[in-house]
Symmetry: C2
Subunit: 457 residues, 2 copies
């Protein structure tokens, strides 16, 4: 009998996260404050609990996962590593394709891997309430899920257009006891200002971030903090359990080495999760292609410069050293909402600059081609975000076929697509389109970036 | 560290289904044909492949699960047995509550447990195409999933009102390559007749069954068969892998005995799946409460007589010996669409008649109370159908608390609720209602049943 699923026993689940900060040949640039100087931990204290701020700047290679977090991880972890035999057969490839199935979490994606520890660290720091923003809704759902299990209140500012178009995501959050409201809201100054000026605005992720941060820092009890689902160092570190599990499971599968590691990139957390443990091997001399994949319509890694930029539209965050299309960039309305972010995590930007990873971009229609092929051969309907990783995996498997080479390809299935089926509908009807991005539009978006400090790659 | 999830190794997954037909102290009554005589296998041959018909009448206690089916089961099975510590804590109960998490299948419910073997047996019998009906959409999705993996065509007649109201279910089926069309359709005589008489009809499950059967039996190539997702003996048998796994996992959890086993009942397949292996123990003298749970608005087990009745509105099926509200009964529009069936499987009806199981009914609002309590304490959003089992489990756990007794309660979480969140929305807004069912309405529905042969319980 052919085994297709490689399970790790709970007792073999990793008990530490991997912190790539310990291993870079040279450290990444620091985030800068409004004065152009590196920010200090106390400047972040009104926004995040100090234990998470310490994790953000930590340089230990291994960080213990708290017991209470491990206990909740065990609700759905370790997640299966799956040999994609159905997909291999359809492609007729000599490559062996494996994927980590992060869609099995109760929230349907990898996001709970960081939502749970973030809720935990807030709780033990004495915080009672967490605010956040959400665009498509994956992150808001994951944080709502984590907060109900930790006994924390959760308030999610959801970009209004998504709030209106995706009532089911809001309902998931409410079922888990969170409050979810459309942004702009009347509950913050930032929201009220926007509503006064543009009463009909569809909202934006940047504004929702501003509202969530304002809500947290203005709570007079001091018991509210803000939480972010990607981009930051500690968030990416929490996700490394994906790659650490995968490494152990590849051994169970009898694989001595992996040739290619693939993940999709919005802010970068799921890619970092599967890839960083393999980037470590690469830094130690292993021959591995590591491919972060983005949409051609939001090409932060493949077409944007490396520079200092804000993480949000409203310029409330520190300046981060990253590949960025400019914080005013408005990505086209692709269905992979989780990949519509103007920048990419500083740690991944640093990997790009060091030549450790090789970014690639795909058009939307090609992504749905790949996602549908996967659904019909492997039986799991992928999130459109994950479809980007699948597209690259399929291309790599085809290349292996052309070259007649056995290759071992690993990708991350970051989530299922059950809450995001509209894109499939358009695709089946032949109405799904691509959004080519002219160079002039990128230049326009980068137009005002000159005022920020220069960042050397 | 407290363990909450009990996993079975793939190699310990049951390799046989349990067939309760082997163990009844007296056999159930046979299905009858239009002439009032027991039907013979060849009468079913145009509808089902002969290998499944043989399984339908089989009396062997254990039936081997084919290797190819086991391989696909392994995509998501064995599924976890979970100790519901979060729920126990909220209830403050001394009971130990366990649930089988069938929501982890790619289709989101227990239905693939029978969809996969049904597709398999059709395939090896030389069938190329399967037709079926679906109401809420769970079954249609499961069969679409199974057919794409087996390389079969799949055509699903979906009740028109659901087709219009639940586009996401249709999209899941299409993503898996199935054809899904609204019933009544213009593709069958039954559909055309209905459209001519009632062009605006919302459709019904009974009519959709008629269309799917007509489509199968009129295919001139003879390579099409029909598939049913519940009620029949072989379907219930395929689901027994749930209870067989649970038994092994309860041993891993250190439990020497289980006191209460609970599942929700529409046609009865998920209940039979978790319960029949324990009904066997009960027939052998074990002291176990086995509770099938239904909605008060569709009280087949708690208020309907045992009689011979058709399985469908259009009277195309044989007469089945079952507790039934009459095949013309139109259940109120509760959100647990999978429990809106006028009858209950003959094997479960027989268990009721033998006193082996103790049916119970819950109001819709109480079900959502229970489902929400579960979502917030265990982190999984249940399907409204599964909410019925949760309601009973919570009541049993509260009773254990009142009596100060340690009891071991096992229930089946038949599926997740991510595709059915509208009911939660109404519940949170206080707009969800119950549908009390007056005795007169039941009497009216049973009015014309006198013409059928009598069935003695």
């Amino acid at each position: 009998m052919e085994t297709t699923k490689f399970l790790l026993h709970e007792s073999d689940m990793p008990r530490q996260w991997y912190n790539i900060m310990a291993d870079f040949p040279r450290p990444p640039l620091p985030p800068l404050g409004p004065d152009g100087n590196p920010i200090t931990p106390d400047m972040l204290a009104p926004v995040f609990p100090m234990n998470l701020i310490e994790q953000e700047v930590c340089t230990d290679r291994w960080v213990d996962i708290p017991e209470e977090v491990l206990n909740i991880y065990k609700m759905w972890r370790p997640v299966p590593l799956v040999r994609a035999r159905g997909l291999e057969k359809v492609l007729g490839t000599p490559a062996r394709i494996y994927y980590k199935n992060e869609s099995v979490s109760p929230a349907g994606s990898h996001k709970p891997n960081t939502a749970v520890p973030q809720a935990y660290y807030n709780k033990i720091f004495g915080i009672k309430r967490i605010t956040t923003e959400t665009g498509a809704g994956q992150w808001g759902c994951a944080l709502a899920f984590a907060c109900t299990l930790m006994g924390l209140e959760c308030k999610v500012y959801m970009v209004r257009i998504s709030f209106d178009q995706k009532p089911f995501r809001r309902l998931m959050m409410e079922t888990w006891g969170a409050q979810c409201l459309p942004s702009p809201s009347t509950e913050t100054q930032a929201g009220r200002n926007m509503l006064q000026e543009f009463p009909d605005t569809p909202g934006s992720l940047g504004l929702a971030i501003s509202e969530a941060i304002e809500d947290a820092v203005t709570d007079p009890t001091g018991k509210t903090r803000y939480s972010l689902g990607s981009v930051l160092n500690h968030v990416l570190m929490h996700q490394t359990i994906i790659g650490l599990e995968a490494k152990k499971q590849l051994v169970l599968a009898g694989e001595k080495k992996v040739d290619t590691v693939i993940g999709c990139v919005g802010g970068g957390s799921n890619f970092a999760g599967i890839a960083f443990p393999f980037v470590l091997d690469k830094m130690n001399g292993a021959d591995i292609d590591i491919i972060p994949v983005e949409p051609t319509s939001c090409p932060t890694m493949t077409r944007a410069p490396f520079s200092y930029d804000h993480g949000d539209l409203a310029e409330m965050t520190p300046l981060l050293p990253m590949h960025s299309l400019g914080h005013k960039f408005m990505p086209p309305p692709i269905h992979a909402g989780g990949l519509r972010y103007h920048g990419v995590a500083p740690l991944i930007s640093h990997c790009i600059n060091l030549g450790l990873v090789s970014p690639r971009a795909y058009d939307q229609v090609d992504v749905y081609d790949a996602a549908t092929t996967f659904a019909r051969s492997e039986g799991i309907i992928p999130a459109p975000e994950s479809g980007h990783a699948i597209a690259a995996a399929i291309d790599e498997a085809r290349k292996a076929k052309e070259e007649g080479k056995e290759r071992v390809i690993l990708f991350n299935l970051s989530g299922h697509g059950l809450m995001d089926l509209r894109g499939y509908d358009l695709y089946f009807r032949g109405e799904l389109v691509n959004y080519p991005l002219p160079e002039a539009e990128i230049a326009k978006s980068l137009h005002n970036m000159d005022k920020y400090p220069k960042a050397q790659a």
